[in-house]
Subunit: 393 residues, 2 copies
């Protein structure tokens, strides 16, 4: 076998997803991309805020960004300070620049955290449905991702989490607002989760870490807010990115922020600086670090996503689809009208509608619609959505 | 133990390096940074070529770089095409855009390659002295780095490599021009290495991959050239970066280029696209991809490094140091006048000179001087270099 056995297995296992994407590409080639309604990708379509381009231009034109050399692996100190100030405000717990590590997006952040914390066989517990790449991120470092069900409305099921914690549980990973459901975990459930992890950890004589992947924190609707995790648990770590709030996922910019109250803080921070380096990230891209330092708290025009959300929810409700109206992110996770979500998504493809089966997110019986698309993709797809649900009535 | 056992061990094992850096920081705080001669870091001090800043400015001002969204995990097709055209010229073997994967620097490239190829216990063979991070890169993916000695002048010792290949050998990793020696492997030795790997691989019924990390390819002196590896072995992969040739290590831009003649090409390319994604790199930073696409073959002003090299070599030769004059890169790797290179480097610190012991590169009895520094650092350090060697006469 030329390539690694494990990688070969992943390639073969994911062949059904590839087939779906190939079918999408075939449809686009056949009918023209504009005649295919592609809801399959979470690639933000609202442009970066104007101030992002302005800041970038200023930094480049003024020559301030002229140093493209190495900086500390954890990032420029002034950038980490800017992030620390912002995180302190958002999380309601003051942190210092030392507690921040700039990373190559949330994916880079999570890998650095997992490598720093996981011993072989350690478990990462995640409420399902969940972002499916988490499986690989845990496995990369010898960990095992274990899912735990959420309630009917995709909120946290504390009893299920309590039942799922074992002596192997090292991390509970949450993603709020959630991909693929758009759900937000409220302050009360996070506080209860924090207490639960503290109690269970104490009984085992060690920490269970609460890790929060929150790239959709600022993409929320109807006045919703996303509670911080630092007040919920001392052993908590934010691992997140600017990809969604600034619409710059291609630039790979994110950070890790560690609760200053965490167990063995100095050692953990040293470990994260090390893992960010040796995994090959080395440091977060330098020029974009300088840009985001000036854009703390800046977010894309969320009203754009809100309009799309309303348009989609109204349309699908009229068709008879059953779903939770998402308070955040840019995904809708309706129930599949038939139990087999893969078959249903294939039926949507016959209407030139591309969505992703819930099975791909540990949420079978559902499907994911990424509504970060043109409004006319939403309106254009409605007749197809309608015909497809009617087929199964 | 809050953090992973393996990571804790690495932190403890590398404490002597940290102590050295702390001593350097202490000296700078005590005497002022300008009075400490710091040769410890390979951070390019020659600025990026003017055309780099010009291209960046043009892309930003024109709005051409306005799309900061996701692209295919392997990179923008037009960028991969530009790299493929260039690699084809340099390597003397035509390749297509499909054979190129844009990465987060060479560190990202090597991690993606190792994860794609290594099964647990597989060996990566590297001629020593070598860049010490390779240990971590192999270990990240269950591999084991094994060193093989080079000849007295740091060129390849084919007999030693032949003796070191086992049935666990999956990759032979070379770095030419070399960090820390500056040595270049000639075409004849690469051709012999290619034949050796093909023969030994055939006997085992599988490929042994030749992987070339060559970020210093364009930083060469006295008309030296760096032979390609694609003509040396069909199972060859370039994993490299723009960090040194454009002086942009902070931006994290590099690529993997796979020999189109490689065994099971399609599968390997799919594996690399997958590992680049799931390791958390996702894709190489988008805007810098656009910049480097226009700068294929562009290199910093190498005459600057050459001047420093001559200044350093002349000075150290006059002091009586013994070294190979490096044909490439920006490192000198002299013999330590005493067998204990760590003790010698500590003695240099007493003269406020910071260098790195050869032991840190699998080359004990030597020390590394990174001469990517101001000329006055070189001239200012000479009296101290002289006094230190005289102490041991």
């Amino acid at each position: 076998m030329p390539i690694a056995v494990k990688i070969q297995a992943v390639i073969e296992k994911s062949s059904w997803i590839r087939k779906m994407f190939e079918e999408g590409a075939r449809l686009k080639a056949l009918h023209g991309a504009e005649n295919v309604y592609d809801f399959s990708l979470g690639n933000p379509n609202v442009p970066p805020p104007e101030i992002f381009e302005k800041t970038l231009r200023e930094l480049v034109d003024s020559g301030e960004a002229r140093d493209h050399g190495y900086m500390p692996n954890t990032g420029y100190p002034f950038v980490r300070q800017a992030v620390a100030d912002h995180v302190g405000r958002v999380q309601g717990a003051a942190i210092t620049a030392d507690d921040v590590i700039m990373t190559c997006g949330a994916a880079g952040a999570l890998n650095a955290v997992f490598k720093a914390l996981l011993d072989p066989g350690d478990e990462v517990l995640v409420p399902a449905p969940y972002f499916v790449e988490y499986n690989a991120y845990a496995d990369n470092h010898g960990g095992i991702l274990k899912t735990v069900p959420t309630r009917e409305d995709f909120t946290l099921d504390l009893a299920a989490i309590d039942a799922a914690v074992t002596e192997k549980t090292k991390i509970v990973l949450i993603n709020s607002p959630n991909n693929p459901t758009g759900q937000i975990y409220d302050a009360e459930s996070l506080a209860a989760l924090g207490r639960l992890l503290l109690d269970r950890g104490e009984a085992m004589g060690r920490a269970i870490y609460l890790v929060s992947d929150e790239p959709y924190r600022n993409i929320v609707y109807d006045g919703a807010t996303v509670p911080g995790i630092f007040t919920a648990s001392p052993n908590s770590i934010v691992a997140t990115s600017y990809s969604k709030e600034l619409s710059i996922p291609g630039e790979r910019l994110g950070y890790i922020a560690v609760n200053p109250a965490v167990d063995d803080r100095r050692n953990l921070l040293a470990a994260l600086a090390l893992t960010n380096r040796i995994l090959g990230f080395v440091n977060a891209p330098s020029m974009m670090q300088r840009v985001v330092a000036r854009l703390q708290g800046v977010t894309v025009d969320v009203s754009e996503y809100d309009r799309k959300r309303r348009l989609l929810c109204k349309g699908l409700a009229e068709c008879g689809y059953d779903f939770i109206t998402p308070p955040g992110a840019f995904y809708l996770f309706p129930k599949s009208p038939i139990p087999d979500d893969v078959a249903f998504v294939q039926a949507l493809q016959e209407e030139r509608i591309l969505a992703v089966p819930g099975s791909g997110f540990g949420g079978p019986g559902h499907f994911r619609i990424a509504y970060c698309v043109d409004d006319k993709t939403i309106t254009g797809a409605m007749p197809g959505f309608k015909r497809t649900i009617e087929k199964y009535r």
